[in-house]
């Protein structure tokens, strides 16, 4: 694909959602709901169509020519040899895969939102924000230099802030959106500092200066933020050096903030305050995966720093198990799914941390399907029981909402990793962990514990929400949602069922099509090579062990919560275990810890500064205003309000003036 085609297609992908956002936002309130529904959805549909074209182009391109970098326009140009920033886009397999999910799943969610937001007065604003999000995310994944990447990164944070706090009259929603944004800013800062470090330290291997770089200040020193150039000259940063480790750690912090990994994870459960389609789009399929994308994109740098990538792997797996643990006790349906997302993303982060990039992206693709499915189905449930989100108040929905219940079951099985999507991606991913990664196979063992926990909480959720007897009036009266909210769910369920089988045909483990697709992207490396796949027998053993653990989790989950054969309360009453449920329910007390460590001291500091600083500032301002007031008070006395006084001033001055002129004329005479 040549550069101009790439520029055109990328430009269209960016333009359609942006136009949709502007149209819905500006004309929506005027033109009404129909227009907003159409404009908001068609824009994403158009973007998806263009993405398919790009995908076809990338698939059909000759090998070695599948990656294209194009410039949309030159943004900032301070002259030759000086700062030069263009809006550059990269179209390669990685970005096109991300785009397919963003626009494809995004389209389904937009269609769903037409139904979900039917009675909401702010629908125009909603679609405007959603389109803005799609645009930002597309910008992020298409970015070919760090400036545009950071812009997209920040725009995504902004859109998520707007969408989480969509129901702004709710105090909890506003607080949640603020929390999300502040946490992400921490990541943004880390990302920016990383960009600075790269910019300052990158040395040119090639003697010539490419057009979009700043060269010549110091001979050989290449100042650039363009991703292809960074990767081409990455070795100059020094494999294994403290510098590269620092850069990678900073990049990782940015990724953790966006992907809600420990320790920057506290915003994700609160973000469920937003409408359910928002949770499906942002907190399942796209934004939270931006961190995974970032590490995958910067794989060359991470491969040069084993410390950083090891840390990434540990954090990822640690978050996965922590989130699984917390999900076991949550009672809000959306929060359970949120922690589930955190856990699955943890697995993805782990994968890119150990160098199994294709595996991580494979998990990303399949996870997008079944997680969006789960969220949308949850949205149907919430709608049916009149906005009740506590699963203890549900029950018996499988007979009342058959389609949704079946789809939710499919999603749960996909999540837990049996038969459907998750089975393939997770086992594939964990298989790499057998021989790659720090202290392998330690993290693999943690990984299969995650499988167990996943099966448990997935079926706890399904069993409590859908099975059994209805536990409230609302649950008793629940009925199925209408078509526009069902079809996206059904389609996603279909994808969850089939995608794994199709992509890994004909064997259910080992290499898969995504691997082959993404291979060229990750084939170049400096430093440690990408993860080696386990051999055939090791792979089979790993697959079997992992699947067994998933099945154990599923089976126990079904027994406790669906069939009610087993009761864990006696086991949990034993001395050592009594603490566990409380820890889990309180999310390991992270919110309270952060509050004590960070929030309270800052507030105290602010109070103290105000007590000290306010009087000083006030005296300044009052001093200035005091002078003006006194002056004007003095002047005021001549404004007596009496016409006669004003007339006498006039006469007085006429007399003075005339005499003066006369004398002047007389003197001149």
């Amino acid at each position: 694909m040549n550069a101009s085609t790439a520029a055109l297609l990328a430009g269209l992908v960016l333009l359609f959602p942006l136009a949709g956002s502007a149209l819905c936002g500006l004309l929506g309130p005027v033109l009404g709901r129909r227009f907003v529904n159409l404009a908001g959805t068609l824009s994403i549909g158009a973007a998806f169509a263009v993405t398919l074209v790009i995908f076809a182009q990338v698939l059909g391109a000759a090998s070695g020519h599948q990656s294209t970098t194009a410039t949309l326009w030159n943004w900032l140009n301070l002259g030759p040899g000086n700062l030069n920033v263009s809006v550059d886009v990269t179209i390669d397999q990685l970005s096109v895969l991300m785009l397919l999910v963003i626009t494809g799943v995004g389209l389904l969610i937009h269609v769903y939102s037409v139904g979900y937001m039917e009675h909401d007065p702010g629908a125009a604003r909603f679609f405007s924000y959603m389109n803005l999000f799609i645009f930002s995310m597309a910008l992020l994944v298409l970015a070919a230099n760090m400036v545009i990447l950071i812009i997209g990164w920040a725009a995504v944070a902004l859109s998520s802030y707007l969408l989480i706090g969509f129901w702004y009259e709710r105090e909890s929603a506003v607080l949640a959106s603020r929390k999300a944004f502040i946490t992400q800013v921490i990541g943004d800062v880390a990302l920016v500092i990383a960009a600075f470090l790269i910019f300052v330290n990158l040395q040119a291997v090639a003697p010539t200066c490419p057009p979009t770089a700043v060269c010549g200040f110091i001979p050989g020193h290449l100042y650039t933020l363009s991703l292809p150039q960074i990767f081409a000259n990455a070795s100059s940063l020094g494999a294994g050096s403290p510098l590269i480790t620092l850069i990678c750690i900073l990049l990782a912090v940015g990724a953790f903030a966006k992907s809600a990994q420990f320790p920057l994870h506290t915003w994700l459960p609160d973000a469920m305050e937003g409408p359910t389609p928002v949770s499906a789009l942002i907190h399942a399929a796209t934004m939270v995966t931006a961190g995974v994308y970032l590490i995958a994109r910067f794989h060359m740098l991470f491969e040069m720093s084993p410390i950083a990538s090891g840390m990434v792997a540990c954090v990822g797996m640690g978050t996965a198990v922590m989130a699984g643990f917390i999900a076991l006790s949550q009672v809000d349906i959306k929060r359970v799914i949120a922690y589930s997302t955190m856990s699955q993303i943890g697995l993805m982060i782990y994968a890119v941390g150990i160098g199994a990039y294709a595996a991580g992206m494979y998990q990303f693709l399949l996870h997008a399907f079944f997680k969006a499915l789960l969220f949308l189905a949850a949205g149907n449930v919430i709608h049916a029981v009149h906005d009740e989100q506590d699963i203890r108040e549900m029950g018996g929905l499988d007979s009342r909402m058959r389609v949704t219940a079946w789809c939710f079951l499919v999603g749960s099985l996909a999540l837990a990793g049996f038969l459907f999507a998750g089975m393939f991606s997770k086992e594939n991913l964990l298989g790499f962990g057998l021989i790659n990664g720090p202290g392998a196979p330690t993290l693999y063992i943690v990984g299969i514990v995650v499988n167990l926990l996943t099966g448990l909480y997935a079926f706890r959720l399904y069993g409590t929400a859908f099975r059994g007897e209805p536990r409230s009036e609302a649950a008793r009266n629940a009925h199925e949602s209408k078509a526009v909210m069902l079809w996206p769910v059904i389609i996603l369920a279909g994808l969850s069922v089939l995608a794994g089988w199709i992509l890994q045909w004909p064997v259910a483990f080992g290499p898969h099509l995504i691997d082959a697709f993404l291979n060229p992207v990750f084939s170049q490396y400096v430093g440690r090579p990408p993860a080696t796949a386990p051999g055939l027998w090791l792979g089979v053993i790993g697959f079997v062990i992992g699947l067994t653990c998933s099945l154990i989790g599923i089976a126990v989950g079904i027994r406790i919560w669906v069939r009610h054969d087993l009761d864990p309360s006696r086991a949990l009453a034993r001395p050592g275990f009594r603490l566990l449920p409380r820890l889990s329910f309180n999310k390991l007390y992270f919110d309270q810890i952060y509050d004590a460590l960070l929030v309270r001291p800052t507030r105290a500091l602010a109070r103290g500064l105000r007590r000290v600083g306010d009087p000083v500032m006030d005296s300044w301002i009052k001093g200035v205003s005091g002078v003006a007031t006194d002056f004007s008070s003095a002047f005021r006395t001549i404004q007596t309000g009496l016409i006669r006084d004003y007339a006498s001033y006039m006469v007085l001055f006429v007399v003075i003036f005339t005499v003066a002129v006369m004398l002047a004329a007389g003197l001149a005479k």
Binding site: R636, Q639, T640, G641, L642, I643, R644, A647, S648, V651
Partner: protein, 103 residues
Amino acid sequence: MLSQSMFPWILLTAAFLFTLGALGVLIRRNPLVVFMCIELMLNAVNLALVGYSSYLNSEEGQVFAFMVIVVAAAEVVVGLGLLTRVFSIGRELDVDDLDEMKQ
């Protein structure tokens, strides 16, 4: 037609009438009298203008005096209308009493 000798006296009378009117504006408290003094000032101006016109044999002074008369008439109409309104609200007809512009 005006001779050289009488012209200064015309101007003097005009000045005298003018300043007398100004004095009246300063001294009197009845707004109607103040108005009349203003009319007196305008008439003094007219006298000066016509005097100049006659002395210099140019009718531009008379044109200007004509305009002055027109403006004076318009002003009297509006001013007396305002005064009537003030009266109908029940305020005193005393310029010292109408001091709402006081700061």
